[in-house]
């Protein structure tokens, strides 16, 4: 909670928030989690638990994007989609679907440019997808470049390419998500708990030790031999920053700067 303070970022953040996101899911725990994460991202949110209210809210509140669970108590997700389209033809939709239903009725959902995420997902993934949708729909005031840059390290969210000093680095899916999270919050300490909550699926039952493991993997690939960029703050967490010797805080998001950094004044656990 804490003051949803506006923290100074290295560059003036062009407020691409103000986006409104409607979350439609009947699991309260999940939609709370999501709302919090999205609000964190700088977006406004509303949550609804059933199709009928969702449609009402959609009409009245006119969100810029919708996160829609395809399994709803009162009406089929597809029916909700139909209503949505009629009310807000342009609004992009991010579907949530159960893992095993994947093959099922996702057909055609992404054809129009919408996207989906299978449960259980990681917040990082969901937010990234949503950001992609908003970017494409033009809802973001400034269309952000898809490349994150910290020092001589770059990460392209569209091609999933990562390179340091020009040479490409191969990462696994988890490594990629972890690095993206770190790079989205350069020079900011992230606790293992935060990382776990953000990068691993919300139902992950494992030990916090995986974070150490994956940081270790990342270091091997990214800091190998060179000036280290990933640093440990014992007892607090990890952070990434341009290697000393680099130009100061060349730590920007190529086009605009993400406010997402927004983890200002976060609390640790």
């Amino acid at each position: 909670m804490s003051a949803h303070s506006e923290h100074m970022n290295e560059t003036a953040a062009p407020r691409d928030h103000a986006c409104r996101v409607l979350v439609v899911d009947d699991e309260d725990a999940l939609s709370d989690l999501l709302s919090m994460a999205l609000r964190y991202e700088g977006w406004e949110t509303r949550a609804e638990g059933d199709g009928t209210s969702a449609l009402r809210t959609a009409r009245e509140w006119r969100p810029d994007a919708v996160v829609l669970d395809v399994m709803l108590p009162d009406m089929d997700g597809l029916a909700v989609l139909g209503g949505l389209r009629r009310a807000l033809p342009e609004v992009p939709v991010l579907f949530l679907t159960a893992r095993d239903a994947v093959e099922d009725r996702i057909a055609g959902l992404t054809a129009g440019g919408d996207d989906y995420v299978t449960k259980p997902f990681s917040i990082e993934e969901l937010v990234a997808r949503l950001r992609g949708l908003l970017r494409r729909s033009g809802a973001l005031s400034v269309r952000p470049e898809s490349v994150l840059v910290v020092g001589d390290l770059t990460l392209d969210e569209e091609s999933h390419e990562v390179a340091r000093g020009g040479s490409e680095i191969e990462l696994t899916a988890t490594e990629f998500e972890l690095l993206r999270y770190l790079m989205r919050n350069p020079r900011r300490v992230l606790s293992k708990a935060q990382i776990l909550d953000r990068v691993w699926s919300y139902d992950f039952g494992g030990r916090a030790n995986v974070v150490e493991l994956y940081v270790s993997y990342l270091r091997r690939k990214i800091d190998a031999g060179r000036q280290p960029m990933i640093h440990t703050r014992r007892g607090a967490g990890y952070l990434i920053k341009a290697a000393s010797g680099e130009h100061a805080g060349i730590t920007a998001r190529a086009g605009s700067l993400s406010p997402s950094g927004g983890l200002a004044g976060e609390d640790e656990r």
Copy 2:
């Protein structure tokens, strides 16, 4: 610096101006899907479910193209076509017909340079056909070249010719569509679900495994022995890009330009 590239939308939809497309179909699900896909392509759409309203909208809204299901509840496709021609003599029409429709009748309809697609179709196919119609009718402000280029790989959407490094490559229909989709989104990871939604017909019930299969076919024909251009991002999807060693991001649509690839000063890999 160079970083300031104007970024584009997902599908290499070259923002060819806001063409207006009228969709006439009585199946809501399908016309929703279509509207969505076309809007995504950068076009404006209106949907109507019967011939009468379709004609009214055609007269008032004056679309640049019409997608017309020949099976309508109130009037025969032929009658609608007649009305259309009277109202908008020049407008190109893309017919939707059932697979087993009487072929010669359609042949008659499309005599004027119109085109048709049989249900069930893939979004890729429909969009490509429509783009062709618009291109020919001159409705597109910038007439895009019909050749997609990525590295030394070229694909001509009109002649359906594909060549790598000058030597021609024979592809089956599905392989062609898959490659076109990849090439329209160079250097962007496309998930198997996205590919399935876009390249396979909307009613395809099969497993995502076909995508792997067809990627495998494509690789045999395109990457055979040479520097691979089709890459797997395990856990994420596939992407195509110029082989390393090629000229930088010569990854353009000959006429308009496409995403990230383009500009000089990009780093190579």
